[in-house]
Symmetry: C2
Subunit: 312 residues, 2 copies
């Protein structure tokens, strides 16, 4: 399994510079968040095109590889599907998104509004994925994966490069993990030069379970963040980056802590974020992660695809 190098990530950043937004890095004294560390750097990546970091990887893959006339195809009703449809629309590429019957009509409408052809197949996500793969073999479209393709991971890694270019090297970086595309890219960028820590819902512990088992294993998935962090198994690329020693720790958060942090982020910081994006601050506020006094801690705020009414 090839993991991205800083050079590959730098090339990805150049490739997508005209497609994605350079999101703000909001530097606050720790005290502004009720924390004892010197600074917290909030990378406001929920403001990215499509409402999550996923656009970086999807644009990078579509700009790296030849896209056939059949366009791109993906099985996802979450942030990956939105990002693929957004990138495809922007690049004028055909796009099919496969969803299962359990997906909400609101998601289907949102994807169709981005110009995607929405295909509903099968009862649950594995069925929609099977239909998507069959369709790809038939159409020859470029298959897009939510987190386990080299270009997708390198695209996510550009976030690390942006943080460092703007503010220098932090002592610690906190990243939410679902399938591990984001943590893989960011940890590959920093390459052990600072402490990159993974945060996962206790109800969707893909990396934690893999670390315990010594290899990727399937996990059951549930909880408030399952919509965006609900991968069943850590990606092979993320696992390879873990084996390189670039991910220093993984921590589990329960749903109550995640929801509390999500609401507090709205109440005190006026940032509307989805539950998945609240894990790093949940870890700091609960004391699960305790940076020491001199530390500058970078927090990746990864997505804002939520119903704003849920913040009240």
């Amino acid at each position: 399994m090839t993991t991205p190098t800083p050079e590959i990530i730098r090339a990805a950043a150049s490739r997508i510079a005209g497609d994605v937004r350079r999101t703000p890095l909001w530097r606050l004294p720790g005290a502004a968040l009720g924390l004892r560390c010197a600074e917290v750097w909030l990378k406001l990546e929920q403001l990215q095109v499509g409402g999550s970091f996923k656009a970086r990887g999807m644009f990078n893959r579509m700009r790296s590889l030849p896209v056939p006339a059949a366009g791109v195809v993906v099985a996802s009703g979450g942030n990956a599907g939105i990002a693929v449809a957004t990138a495809a629309q922007s690049l004028g590429v055909a796009c099919e998104v496969f969803l299962p019957e359990v997906s909400s009509p609101a998601k289907r409408t949102a994807l169709a509004a981005l110009g995607a052809r929405v295909v509903v197949r099968g009862a649950a996500y594995p069925d929609a994925l099977a239909a998507c793969l069959a369709r790809q073999r038939e159409s020859g479209a470029l298959l897009m994966h939510a987190y386990d393709q080299a270009e997708v991971v390198a695209g996510a890694g550009t976030l690390g490069g942006e943080i460092e270019a703007e503010a220098g090297l932090p002592e610690r970086v906190l990243v939410s993990v679902g399938g591990g595309g984001l943590v893989a890219g960011v940890a590959a960028w920093f390459g052990g030069r600072c402490r990159v820590e993974a945060l996962e819902p206790a109800l969707a512990p893909t990396l934690h379970a893999a670390r315990a088992a010594g290899m990727p294993v399937d996990v059951a998935v549930a909880g408030v963040a399952a919509d965006s962090l609900g991968a069943r198994r850590i990606g092979d690329i993320a696992w390879a980056v873990q084996r390189q020693g670039f991910i220093a720790a993984s921590h589990l958060l329960d749903d109550a802590a995640i929801r509390d942090a999500q609401r507090r982020i709205w109440r005190e910081l006026r940032l509307a974020v989805e539950p998945a994006a609240a894990l790093p601050l949940a870890a700091l506020w609960t004391g699960l992660v305790q940076p020491v006094a001199h530390e500058r801690v970078a927090v990746i705020v990864c997505g804002a695809n939520l119903d704003p009414a849920s913040l009240a």
Copy 2:
């Protein structure tokens, strides 16, 4: 009427540096917002302590003047009241907020949660204000005004200084106007070195009416932004800055354009803002303000005290 100078505003910035947040300046190519100008700089001041720019002025006044044991007193159920209560709590100062009977229980609860003593008096805001002034004469508390005190305007002006320190001089700055404290401070900072334009709801046109009449006049106030831009008359300080020639234009926006922009800001940028904060982008998106190709346009996103459910 004394208007603030850049020196006074610089002193205010030093005075409140430990109290307020340095909010992000998000620089985007105009095309990212569907606009033809070179760049749009979004000053994300809705992320300020208390959810609006008002904290700058309130901290500055409390740090500039002796605060008696009776503390501070204000008549406001909007962003000014929240900012006064927030600053008072932070500085350990007693705080009374006067509200009329029409004010919502939600506001009273929010102010009480910030440690303010909430006093409900009279049917409408003028009655609550009269009660507030009577109370001030009796208690000797420091009276805080939402927009028409020198320290409050100078505090608001620090926003202009932050924009320029971070990105240099823009060609144009767009600012929402209620009582005019924000536009007065910002226009006083730039002092005619760039084009500062005021945006007002057609249903709360204090500056527009004053410009037409040649002096401040009372206006009727209604509409979606009345909660935060619903002053009845432009402040004397803002009028003095207008007479200095530092406010290049004022434009009126109807409620539909304001609400459309507020929803679009959420949908496309994932920023949750109140209607008052949507006026500058409403002016750009409707074509009411048309910057030319080379321009860098600074937009002050002034507040986020809203029910997030209203964004749907």
